[in-house]
Amino acid sequence: MTSSVPTLQVCRDCGGGAPVDVHFCPQCEKILSLSRHGDYFAFMGLPHRLNIEAAELERRFRALSRQFHPDFFYNATTAERRASLERSSYLNDAYRTLRDPVTRLQYILQIEGLAPQGPAEASRQAPPALLEEVFALNEELDEVRDARTAGAADDVWRGRLDRARQPIETKRVAHEAQLQELSARWDTLADRPAADAERRAVLQALGERFLERNYINNLLAGIERELTQ
């Protein structure tokens, strides 16, 4: 989210101004209440990258956790105690979201306005061809289950499952490679203005890949379950 509006928060204690991504008032050094704040990345002092080193993220999380910890504000004013709780809780949300590459991507898509945020927007559709394929494979899976229940020989139903798995497994591998390539490209483009055509194209492609992910994974999980039962 790039914004040209100067983003400032105001210290409720001394009335001084501070940039949104600092946690303590530069004037009076008191913990700032969580009024106006940046996104999870800004909160943790990170750029909007998809490839983040886990160790670096954890280091930042631990450092900030220590700074905000409510135990250190035990004797402080009510406002400071509340601020420490607010910042601790927001930090936990930020860390939980950014730690997992999938929720991290989802979060980037969301703050860039590309992910469904509620039921009203939930109807963004994956490509029809993928839905057709997933539906057909689900039907095949159903038929294999029926055949198995009806007493089909082991190698018969296993063979059918293997044949069903191959195309979707190939798709998953290709999908994974595309996501990685797009993520790397995004990381070089993230700092460009939001209107930049290349940046938007990569974001759009990431959004489309993201829509496809659960269909592919669910289907593979279903096949896997059937094979191991």
């Binding site: 039921p119 939930a122 963004r124 994956a126 029809p128 839905l131 993201f210 269909y215 669910n218």
Partner: protein, 141 residues
Amino acid sequence: MAYSDKVIDHYENPRNVGSMPKDDVNVGTGLVGAPECGDVMKLQVKVNPLTGIIDDAKFKTFGCGSAIASSSLATEWLKGKTVDEALAIKNTDIVAELSLPPVKIHCSVLAEDAIKAAIGDYKKKQAAEGKTAEKVAQPTA
């Protein structure tokens, strides 16, 4: 979270599971998916060409109980309705009937999308059929 009795009933005894020939000009097919959970839902309507009323509706859903119940209920409601009445079915009606909790509202949205897609497909086929009928009719006129 507990499913309501109505969801469980539709899940255990789904109405109108199955499929109708996709190529039938009186059959509209909608195939939609929910990217959040990977559910896929196919819903079909068969419209009586003489009365314009939906004679039959079928569905097949691969997904959670709420998605199955939402589409099962939708097929029950569709039968006996005109195409325009069918389009008036809102996901909120499904939510109310099945007492779906907020996290399952997207299942009802999916069912509404499936109805719209099926009717859209039917209308498209009818329009195409009208054109070919005209073409066939012209030489004999």
